[in-house]
Each structure stands twice: as C-alpha cells, then as structure tokens.
C-alpha cells in the first residue's frame, strides 16, 4: 500500500465523479428526494378515521356516545345515516372505515344497568387500519361507559402507560432515522457499483493492471471519495430530518459519525464487490439495486419488526448491514444511547466493512494478476 498511488486513484475518481452528471444526481439529489418522498409519504399513524353513525335510538345517550367517538380525534364523523343499507356504499367506496350502529333501546338498556349492545362494522380490506380502528372504538366505548357510570363504577385497577423515547408515538420519529439507513445503503452500493465496471467497459482496467498499482490501492482509492460523499449525504439527511420533521437527536453526534463511517464502508465495499464481479455498468447497477433496495426496506426492521418475521427471513436479515445501522440511528436519535449499548452493532458493521473490502479485492484478483 503506497500513499501516493492511493491518492492518485482517489483524486482521479473524484474528478470523474465531478464530471459525471448521473453520478452527481445519484450522490446528492437522490438521497434528499428519497427522504422527502418517504418522510412525507410513509406514516403509520392512524387518526381521523372516517366514521358513519347509524343512530337508531336517537336519544341523548346515543348522541353522547357518538361524541365520545369523535372527541378523541381518532374518528371523524363523516356521515350520519338512517339505515344500515345507506352505510354500505360508504364502506364499499372507502368514504368511511367504520360504521357504528346504535340500536333502538340503547339508552333504555344502559339506564337500566343492562348490557347495551352496540355494533361496529369495520372495513377489513386494510387489516392494519382495521385493527387500530377496532382498538380505538373499544377505547371510546370504555371511556363513555366510565363517564356514564361515574366514579362508583370505576374499575378497581387502572393501568397507566407511559411511552418512552418517542413520547408522542409519532411514526415520523421512527421513520426518519431509519430512512438514513435505508437510503444510504442504496446510494452507497449504487454509487460504487458503477466504478470498477466502468474501468472494464472502457478497457482502462488493462492499463491499470500494467502499472504498479495494487488491488488494495484501487479498491480503497475508489472508496474514499464516495465515503466523503456518503458522510455529506448523512449530514444533509440528518439536518433535514431535524429541521423538516422535528426528529429529536439525543445521542452523541461523534458516535453517530463513527458508526456511519463503518456502515458506509461496508455498503460501498458491497457496491465495489458487485462492480468487480459484474464487469458491466448496467448489470452492476441492477445487482446493486436488487441486493440493497428491497432488503434494506423490508428486512432491515425499517418497516416490519424483525422479531415477528419467519425464521428464514430473520436469518437473512443478519446479512443486511442496514439492520444494524437502523438500531444505531434509532438508538442515537431517539434514545440517546451510547457505545455501551451499540457496540455490538458497531462491531458487526466493522466486520461487514472488512469483509466487503476484502471481497471486492478478491473479486478482481484473477484478472489483475
């Protein structure tokens, strides 16, 4: 390893990058676009569920029940209809997600202390939202029952839950730190996937092979400019996340920078490995997309908790560095935890980085002999 040669490769790579519009867009525009797109589009919060009220009782009690539903902010009264048949087209078209039927005699039954049946019909075509809507409905009914019965009817045990780290339970607080991991995995691998393949395609690899430059110098020299770009990207995404989405950053920025570097080197190394194997820019880009985009999005724990995945997918998720980085970003942004908690993720990412670089060097050993 000679510093002069390493510097020559890195400088050349940086110059080429500066003159390549496609790479520049990929490097600087795409991360921001992805953040805005995902940050605004993805939300797992369910509120303002449109509600149809079919009040067959028409009493003060039934009206209070309706108010109990809308008062929480979870439901919005979208329609008031006379008969169930009128609610059906509203459910079918999705104009309402939940139809609440208050049967005739509801007030009388509850006044007499009898069980008063209520019917809620939920649109189950979106199972997640349906589950949440049912939960909200039960909570609303419970709140109403509590008010109706007064203090005397209060249940003897009350669970008081407090949420830590993400007090307002805003999914955006979860999404933005996670997005950093997903976006950078994609960008890093895509960027470097082009570089070695380009040398093969243009025939310059043979010229390089005839000079004293070593494989290690080529791999590291190519990696260096992209690492700097990756760090700039993470900084930009972080600042946007803080400014635009109000995400908290509670942990150490230095630790975040260090672990980001380890993560980026691994992802860049993966891209270089793909590039060395594919030898064609088109194939390399496609491979990089395939091996990073969906895995990082679906198997990293970004969208679905890894603990509820089937065993096979859980096993695969261990191979996705975004999985570890996701724990790191969420940990540092939301929990403010330090190296004492994140060292395992850090070590695994460093291991991935080492393996990535060695694999990239190995991949073009045969040709560069």
């Amino acid at each position: 390893m000679q510093l002069g040669r390493l510097r020559a490769v890195a400088r050349k790579e940086a110059i080429q990058l500066r003159r390549d519009t496609r790479s520049l867009i990929l490097a600087f525009l795409l991360p921001v676009l992805l953040l805005l797109l995902f940050g605004y589009a993805i939300t797992w919060d369910v509120d303002d569920i449109p509600l149809a009220l079919i009040d067959l009782d028409q009493t003060q009690a039934s009206r209070q029940l309706g108010e109990a539903f809308t008062a929480s902010g979870s439901f919005r009264l979208a329609a008031r209809v006379e008969r169930m048949v009128d609610a059906e087209p509203l459910l079918a078209t999705g104009k309402v997600r939940l139809a609440l039927v208050v049967p005739r005699g509801f007030a009388a039954a509850s006044a007499a202390g009898e069980a008063a049946p209520l019917q809620a019909i939920v649109d189950g075509s979106d199972a997640n939202t349906a589950e949440i809507a049912i939960g909200y409905a039960q909570a609303a009914v419970a709140a109403y029952a509590l008010r109706l019965g007064g203090a005397a009817a209060a249940p003897p045990l009350v669970a008081v839950s407090r949420v830590w780290y993400n007090e307002e339970l805003s999914s955006r607080n979860m999404i933005v730190p996670g997005l950093i991991a997903v976006i950078m995995m994609i960008i890093a691998a895509m960027l470097t996937s082009l570089t070695i393949a380009r040398e093969w395609e243009r025939g310059s690899m043979e010229q390089l092979a005839a000079t004293p430059v070593t494989r290690g110098e080529i791999v590291l020299g190519k990696l260096l400019p992209y690492l700097i770009i990756g760090l700039v990207d993470v900084l930009a995404i972080t600042l946007l996340g803080l400014a635009l989405f109000g995400v908290p950053l509670r942990g150490s920025v230095l630790l975040l920078a260090l672990l980001t570097t380890a993560f980026l080197i691994g992802s860049l190394g993966l891209g270089l490995f793909i590039s060395a194997v594919a030898k064609s820019q088109l194939l390399a880009t496609q491979l990089a997309m395939l091996t990073t985009f969906l895995p990082a999005l679906l198997l990293s724990g970004f969208m679905y908790a890894i603990s509820v995945m089937p065993a096979a997918l859980q096993a695969i998720s261990f191979l996705i560095p975004a999985r570890y980085f996701l724990v790191v970003t969420r940990g540092i942004f939301l929990k403010g935890v330090g190296a004492d908690v994140l060292y395992r993720q850090g070590l695994l990412m460093i291991a991935f980085a080492v393996v990535g670089i060695l694999a990239a060097m190995q991949a073009f050993k045969k040709e560069l002999t």
């Binding site: 000679q2 002069g4 040669r5 510097r7 020559a8 490769v9 400088r11 050349k12 110059i15 080429q16 003159r19 390549d20 243009r202 025939g203 310059s204 690899m205 043979e206 010229q207 390089l208 092979a209 005839a210 000079t211 004293p212 430059v213 002999t369």
Partner: protein
C-alpha cells in the same frame, strides 16, 4: 543474465483451454533495440506481450524483463516497463494534464519530478496547447501520443506497445514512430507489435508470428534477403498491357501490378530478363528499365509460412 538483454523469452507457451495461443516462443531483445512483432490478428502477438508485461501468467516457459523474472517478480517488472494496450485506455473524461498526473501518481513520481516529466510529455506529444482539454476531444493520433507519453512518465527501460498505431492516419503514424526512435536513441528498449508491413520496416529486428509460433526472426533486410526466388520490377510505358503480355511466359512464376510497374517473381533473373525484353520488343511496348528488387515483408511472410508447411491465418 546478460546485461545487454532487455527482454528474454524461453519456450513461452500459453493455452486458453484447448486453444494454443502461444507455442514455445523464444527470443532475446537487446537494450535499446526496436523489436517488432509482425503477424495477422490472432497470431499470438498480444498474448505474448501480455505475458511479458505481467498481465497474463504463462502456461509454461520462462522469461525475463529488465532483468526481473516474469513469474516471480511481476511487481518489479511493472515498475520498470511502460505498456500501451491495443485498446486506447486513457480516461476520456480527464484532461490531458489530469491523465498525466494520474499515471505519474501510479508510477510513484514525486510532485516535483512529475511536473518535469509532464512538461516533457506535453512537449514531446505536441500537446502543450491542449493540456486543459478533455482527452476524449482529441484526435486519435494525439490520444496515442499522449498514451505513449503516459506510459514512459517513469522512464522505463522497456516499453511494450501493442499495435499502438492501429486506426491512426499515416501522418500521425509517422510522427508516432519518430517518438519511438527518440526513445530508442535514449536507450529504451521498444517492443512493438503491428500488422502494418511498412511499419515493420522501421524495426531493428522483426519477429514473424503465425498461429502462435515464431516463424522467423531477423532484421527486415535480412528477412527479405532470405527469400530465394528473385523479384524483378519492370518499368514500362504501359504496365497493364505488359502484364497481360507476360502471363504464361516461360521462366516467370508470378506477376503483379504495383502502381505503373510490374513485379515478377522468377526462377532465374537473367533468363527471365531476356524473355521479358523479347516479349516487349515483339509487342512494341518500350521498356524503361528492369531491376532486381528485394521482396517486401509480405512476400517474406508468405514464403515463411509456406516453408513451415502451414497456411497463414485469415
């Protein structure tokens, strides 16, 4: 080893699967020599050069380049050779000066040394005015001269050029060869492959290759002299008519029209000359002269292939 030998090959052999690309090739190239490799595409020239330059491992045989063993000292060889691949492989999206700086860096030149060599290359290649231009905007001839410059930044004792002038116009080709001579005069050993016959003439010594085998090795003049059958060049007022007239005449083996002159391969020069003079006098075509000339390298190549009992490749 002999200090005067810059490149040595002993029974170099390369198989690609079942295909025998290079078959037991041996030669020695002296320091400061311009050594040519002549042969059709696929004759094994490029494969031999790649083995010597340390880009391909030979199947068997050994070699030395600039005093280093081809198998065990590849890293040292790469520091002591310049190499220009058949494909143009500088970076089109780098400027002339950036390409020079990049390769200078790869050869480990210190900044001060690099500045001096860069100016030398720019001046040598006539690219002083173009140093800030993107390399892809240059004409092919200029690109080739720049590539040559980049290959000799570190002043290597041995230079491998694999068909450096293919596709370049004749004028640029001549300029390129002047550079090669300049380098050779400064002591650089130049190992160059080509399929241009007239370029082969510029080499001090020539190795003819066909189907992976070395079929002849000597100076261009000696190679031409080695062809036994005499060749006559006949100048006349009417070449095409004379050609028709001489067809089938005794003592004449082959005929060809070269410009206005007729070339005839004959068995015996004196006998043939008498026959030609008799025919032209009878037909009333005045002769401007008959001279015995040396055969071209193309003639030599064909003759050697026939002597080897094989057919040339297409």
């Amino acid at each position: 080893m002999n200090a005067r030998v810059a490149v040595l090959a002993e029974d170099l052999t390369k198989h690609f699967g079942a295909f025998l690309a290079v078959d037991r090739v041996s030669f020695a190239v002296g320091a400061g020599e311009v050594f040519g490799f002549l042969g059709p595409n696929g004759a094994g020239k490029t494969t031999t050069i790649k083995m010597l330059a340390g880009l391909l491992a030979p199947t068997s045989g050994r070699g030395e380049v600039a005093g280093f063993d081809m198998r065990s000292e590849r890293a040292a060889i790469k520091q002591h050779i310049g190499y220009m691949s058949q494909l143009f492989s500088l970076y089109g999206d780098l400027t002339v000066a950036e390409n020079i700086a990049f390769f200078g860096g790869l050869y480990g030149l210190a900044p001060a040394a690099l500045a001096g060599r860069r100016d030398w290359v720019l001046q040598m290649a006539g690219l002083g005015e173009q140093r800030r231009r993107l390399t892809r905007e240059l004409s092919l001839g200029w690109k080739q001269r720049l590539a040559l410059g980049c290959a000799v930044l570190h002043e290597p004792p041995v230079l491998f050029l694999d068909e450096p002038t293919s596709g370049v116009d004749p004028l640029s080709r001549r300029a390129f060869w002047e550079l090669i001579y300049t380098l050779a005069e400064q002591g650089t050993t130049v190992f160059v492959s080509t399929h241009y016959m007239e370029e082969a003439e510029y080499c001090h010594r020539l190795a003819l290759m066909n189907r992976g085998r070395l079929i002849a090795l000597d100076s261009p003049a000696a190679l031409r002299a080695s062809v036994a059958a005499p060749l006559l060049e006949i100048e006349s007022a009417n070449g095409p008519a004379l050609l028709g007239l001489l067809k089938g005449a005794p003592a004449i083996r082959e005929l060809g029209l070269f410009g206005r002159a007729v070339h005839a391969v004959v068995d015996d020069a004196a006998a043939a000359e008498a026959v030609i003079r008799a025919h032209s006098a009878a037909a009333g075509i005045p002769l401007a002269g008959i001279a015995r000339i040396a055969p071209s390298l193309e003639d030599v190549f064909i003759a050697r292939v026939h002597a080897e009992g094989g057919a040339p490749q297409d």
